[in-house]
Subunit: 189 residues, 2 copies
DNA sequence: ACTGACTAGTCACTTTCTTGACTATGAGGA
DNA sequence: TCCTCATAGTCAAGAAAGTGACTAGTCAGT
């Protein structure tokens, strides 16, 4: 039941529409969680019913009206409660890891294909996070921003996202190297 | 539907009982996936019905009998199919990230508590993975093992698990440093 | 004699996540 | 004019994952 808390956390700093929250989750502001539009809207509806968020209709011209949500006092209390109970650590859960686990029994060429894809994805994602970090800290250098910046929470989670994807990228590179070296060595013998 | 493939991958190198697979998943051989006993047994039953794994009863003395499973040709084909379709990249999905995202609105002391817990957990997990790696490569040095060792798949995924937990540990440390520095700086102003 | 831990496994239930489709409106380009 | 994309959101159904409780025997320690 952490999706609700992720939604609350996303709404803390700004008033957003469901659509905007969705975007945030899709893009990678969801460096800290991931969810589809349907889940986001459903969760927002539940949160509103429970009084954790308050929505207000905004009439727009030239595009559909929207509802902006903000976190209420109760919502903040809920988040505080969540933060004060132990967080369960996440596990790595990647299809690619399962595939590499079976590497010795599968075709190396196919696997290298998967690794190449994941490498490119990780690289792109890391670059995206890096951009976000730059935007967030503006013209301050990182140390200064972390000490005196207004909101460091999103910055810190974004940094974790960046480093995670960098680690994925490096791991893909290393695994490909090993697989290629073994192919060559296998030929030698 | 990757649990089934994770189970298949776990059974590739050795014939295991459901209980042993469970252990593997619980401990951290599940560096690449995580599942509870109930899920493992249910998946094994399904896989057997579909002919992906074959079980055989082993009568034991002094302890309950068990059923050992091995992957069949069909099971291997299923894994090959899985490896040849694109792997969907995983996202970070940690309670603690959600909590840190909201850091600017929550009590720093409470958060540092969570971070300390996660730090210790990550440290312990990383050490465990490191031990496993040592066991797997025996007296060979890493480069030699990766080039000539019999089975490198599990080694490579375990290395990813270790590095993941190290990254978690380092991130926790950095976040705590930032939060503490800001508390002090806040007091100054 | 009792307690707790380990082996080996199962049932029932709930929550969460994912898939796929569908409603509208307006803007910009071929 | 038609097509596609972006905004803004909803419904229904199903697969996957997680929770809690429970059986039953063995072994080591207190």
């Amino acid at each position: 039941m952490a999706l609700r808390h992720a939604v609350l956390a996303a709404l803390l700093d700004e008033e957003l529409s469901g659509y905007q929250v969705t975007k945030a989750f899709a893009a990678g502001v969801a460096n800290f969680w991931h969810a589809l539009p349907q889940q986001v809207y459903a969760e927002l509806a539940k949160l509103e019913k429970e009084g954790m968020v308050a929505g207000r209709e905004v009439v727009q011209e030239g595009r559909p009206n929207k509802r902006l949500f903000r976190v209420t006092g109760e919502g903040l209390a809920e988040l505080e409660g969540f933060a004060s109970t132990a967080a369960k650590p996440a596990f790595l859960r990647e299809d690619l890891l399962v595939q590499v686990q079976a590497a010795d029994h599968l075709d190396t060429g196919v696997l290298i294909g998967r690794l190449t894809e994941r490498y490119a994805f990780a690289e792109a994602k890391a670059a995206l996070f890096e951009e976000q970090l730059l935007r967030m800290r503006g013209d301050l250098d990182e140390a200064e921003f972390l000490l005196r910046g207004a909101r460091v929470g999103p910055y810190l989670t974004c940094r974790r996202g960046r480093d995670f994807e960098r680690a994925n990228r490096d791991w893909c590179r290393d695994v490909m190297e090993v697989l290629r070296a073994r192919q060559t060595a296998g030929g030698e013998v």
